[in-house]
């Protein structure tokens, strides 16, 4: 991994749908130093980022929050990459030259668009080579996502390597069908599995296993998924918030694709993350030296709701 590749910087793109486990996987790879000496670029579509707090093991990191780098945030990504290229050109010695970049995309990004952005840029194409596109696939939710989200299929199609996560909590039969479906969508992509970043074994799929039925999807039918920042104020009422959120996920878990944010409570700073209706046990983050501006702002990502709707309904529970 650390050997130079024809002199250009090697870029690995890590993509995957919202809540598929990209950051969890990345966090373990950084801990294990899989990528060696690496500059990590983290992109989050939401304005209140949390992934950077989880990837502190990275040697160097740049955070691009507030826009997806495959579309609205393209310019910001180009600027960061050009700055890294410049710094590398001016490096005093070979040992300090940057050789590897890993870009963790937002869950709303199409990795192929990022690869073609670099290919079509007159400077970046001579400085950076995309060596691998890794796409993380959520074993629990992938079937529904592939059947309803054009973007999820595009992400899988663009992969060189597919890493299936949450396999430890997925029925082996379902996993077999999922692998068959992934082979159908991306026949050339290598498949492997991981649980909390650690490698797992995927079951051998006999040829008789049928993939999930996939209907053609029309881009035009997709109502875009958006990220709405929800400010809980300086002293959030955790209890009222959880009564509200549990009710909301129960009633509208198909629309609320992802919720994430750091909330200050008497029990510490809690990192809350949901994927559809499932909620991860909150992680207790260490207290920062200086107050973090994004604490108590929760990103609600999905479709079919507005900021006003969220605040009004939460206020009804909090009052």
């Amino acid at each position: 991994m650390s050997a130079p590749f024809d002199g250009r910087i090697r870029l690995t793109i890590v993509g995957g749908f919202l809540g598929s486990g990209k950051t969890t996987w990345m966090r373990h790879q950084l801990h294990e130093k899989t990528f060696g000496h690496v500059h990590v670029i983290v992109n989050e579509a939401a304005d209140a980022p949390v992934d950077d707090a989880l990837l502190q093991a990275a040697d160097q990191m740049t955070l691009l929050a507030g826009a997806c780098v495959c579309c609205a945030g393209q310019e910001a990504l180009q600027t960061v990459l050009l700055t890294l290229c410049d710094a590398r050109s001016g490096a005093a010695d070979r040992a300090s030259r940057l050789e590897n970049i890993v870009l963790e995309t937002s869950g709303l990004a199409d990795p192929a668009a990022i690869a073609s952005l670099i290919q079509s840029h007159p400077i970046l194409v001579r400085q950076i080579v995309v060596t691998e596109t890794i796409v993380i696939v959520d074993a629990l939710n992938a079937q529904e996502q592939m059947q309803s989200e054009t973007l999820c299929r595009k992400q899988i199609e663009s992969a060189d390597r597919l890493i299936v996560t949450k396999t430890d909590v997925t029925h082996p039969g379902h996993l077999g069908q999922l692998c068959a479906t992934l082979t159908q969508i991306a026949p050339g992509a290598a498949q492997s599995a991981a649980s909390f970043g650690s490698a797992m074994i995927l079951p051998d799929v006999p040829p008789c296993v049928d993939p999930f039925p996939l209907l053609p999807l029309d881009d035009q039918d997709d109502v875009p998924i958006h990220a709405v920042p929800l400010d809980l104020g300086p002293t959030p009422d955790w209890t009222a918030f959880t009564v509200w959120l549990s009710a909301l996920l129960y009633a509208r878990g198909d629309q609320i694709v992802r919720v994430k944010g750091v909330i200050a409570t008497p029990a510490g700073r809690l990192l809350l993350q949901t994927v559809r209706r499932s909620v991860q046990s909150p992680e207790i983050l260490p207290d920062p030296d200086t107050p973090c501006a994004t604490d108590n702002v929760v990103a609600v990502i999905g479709r079919g709701f507005s900021h006003d709707q969220l605040t009004a309904s939460l206020a009804h529970f909090s009052a």
Partner: protein, 91 residues
Amino acid sequence: MCSACGFPAAPGHWTEAGAATPHDRLRERFRRMQVLQKVLKGSGVSVHDGGMVPGIQVMSASGAQTIVPDLEAVWGEVEKLRGHVIDPFEL
């Protein structure tokens, strides 16, 4: 699972992660009931948690009752007793 690369997870159900001491936990349970009772007012379903035994008691107007383990399970039980879900956007 690798225990070295993450932060510690709050024990118990996620909705109960906001309290770390027994005192805070009890206060949170009573506050949870206060919020739930307000939200469920007029729905035909009521809830009760005396703070002594684990779980939340969910009761219908006709007297049917059950104990659920946590807040998340309350909404499924409320739907069963009422016949339709409580939608926070429609309250």
